[in-house]
Amino acid sequence: MEEEVYEPVIGLEVHCELKTITKLWCGCKNEFGVEPNTNICPVCLGLPGSLPVLNEQAVKFAAMIGLALNCEVKPSIFHRKNYFYPDMPKDFQISQYDQPINVNGFLKLDKNVTIGVVRAHMEEDTGKTTHIGSSGRIHESSGASIDYNRAGVPLVEIVSAPEIKSAEEAKKYVSELRAILVATNTTDGKMEEGSMRVDANVSVRKIGSIEFGTRTEIKNLNSLRSLVRAIDYEISRQINVIKNGEKVKQETRHWNEDASTTVPLRSKEEADDYRYFPEPDLVEVDLGNDIVRQLKQSLPVMPLERRQRIIELLKNPNEDSAFIVVDLDLDGLLLEVVKQGADAELALKRFSNEFAGYVEEVKALQPERLVELLNLEQTGQLSATQAKAVFAEMLTTKSSPSQISTGLGFGGLEDSELSELLKGIISNCPNEWNRFKDGDGKVQQFFIGQVMKATKGQANGKVVLSLLEAMKNS
């Protein structure tokens, strides 16, 4: 495999919109999904004479993000990033340049992997451009329609070090980052709504080489799936370019989900020269040690640690299930039911599957009820299917799991009744019974199925199986 001679080097830039009530420089509402151009004013339209005034909450959120990513929070200033593009009505974007608010952090992916966070700076979002085709309503010219509701919405851009080694690791980084951001309650992390957007810088180099290869920047990564596919595509594209004796061009490429390729954006004229200069309408931001300390203390326990608390309870660590439970913010309840005597393995299984679809309802239940349900299943008094049915009822009634179970006619079958039933089935199916006795594991499902049919699904499969085993050995 010649591919193995090369290794990718990936860095990610993640933009996230902050969950403030208003925009960064003006009192227009920061809202998603409202009528176009309804949250606009002279400031965010860049009208002459208007002046920006910084939203204090946005600064605090930005610092909290930095602290959650183990950054140093520093005194910072704003710059103008100049470019002509109609998504910024001022013809510049206010951003942070050489003195960003957060620097030198890191993000832990797991016990062994840590990715550096170079900086996490504040800036304003741009307006939303909708291209109008020549066949659209505007017949005289094709062009673009701009909605400035998003212009001036506070963003934090988190720049990773070029330390990510694969598309999968990039996905893990973004998932972990998203989990952290959501936990800090500073952003809602919705990639599908664009409140979290990822650009990937990708290059390849020969393994063992210290120098980086020429990188490309990939945009339009709207989901974790696109992120992985686009990076994998770009890695092999670059390797092919090099193998063909050509050079990778430094450029911005656009991920086309339908075609599953990255294509170069026609390079905007000298677009890389933004002529940054300090924004004269804004002054230095310096939260000071006391406020930074307070913000740090206000941070919740981070997701990695929350998952760890679950995993410690398990014989067989299941990171994925723990991720789901923490992501749904159900881990506190899970820990409580385990503390009250529920089996941790079973609890995690149910919390990450059946319960996951009913987060709010489950949170509203008394933990004791969940413990009772899980224990009924754990002890075999309810089959998994029956437990699911009882759970569904619990969401809508106030009755206890055992009351519901009785009401549904579950658990009414004594072992002796089941034994009698089984004996009957066995005498009708001698061939299957012989195969079972010879150790053919597949036939056990046949017997369980027969019992279920005869009991209209009220028997517990586990109990049937143990009865079968007992009969085989007798």
Binding site: N37, T38, P42, V53, E56, T130, D147, E269
Partner: protein, 103 residues
């Protein structure tokens, strides 16, 4: 140009800066602005002759920091009022020409 003819930027520099600012300058204008901008820069360069090594860098002429506003919403302005004075509009948005560099 009474003091000196020192040119600390080239015509190419000026042409480049002009293109970034979307200014379409002819050759005479380029020539003239190169001389003028050089004079401005030479004047600004005088500052380098002062020893400022003891002074911390200044990012702003005002000795102010942390000018904030509270995160409270106020009414936005009427869309119709704004769109009615836009050079071109759609029903709900600002219409701009097709954007270079995008499909």
């Amino acid at each position: 140009m009474d003091n000196n003819e020192e040119q600390i930027i080239s015509k190419q520099d000026v042409s480049y800066v002009a293109s970034l600012a979307r200014l379409d300058l002819n050759d005479d204008e380029l020539e003239s602005f190169t001389v003028q901008l050089s004079a401005v820069l030479v004047h600004a360069k005088d500052l380098s002759s002062i020893d400022l090594s003891d002074l911390p860098p200044t990012s702003h002429p005002l000795a102010l920091k942390n000018v904030f506003r509270l995160d409270t919403a106020r009414e936005s302005i009427s869309r119709e009022e704004v769109l009615s004075v836009a050079p071109q509009r759609t029903e709900t948005g600002f219409l701009v020409p097709p954007i270079l560099g995008e499909d």
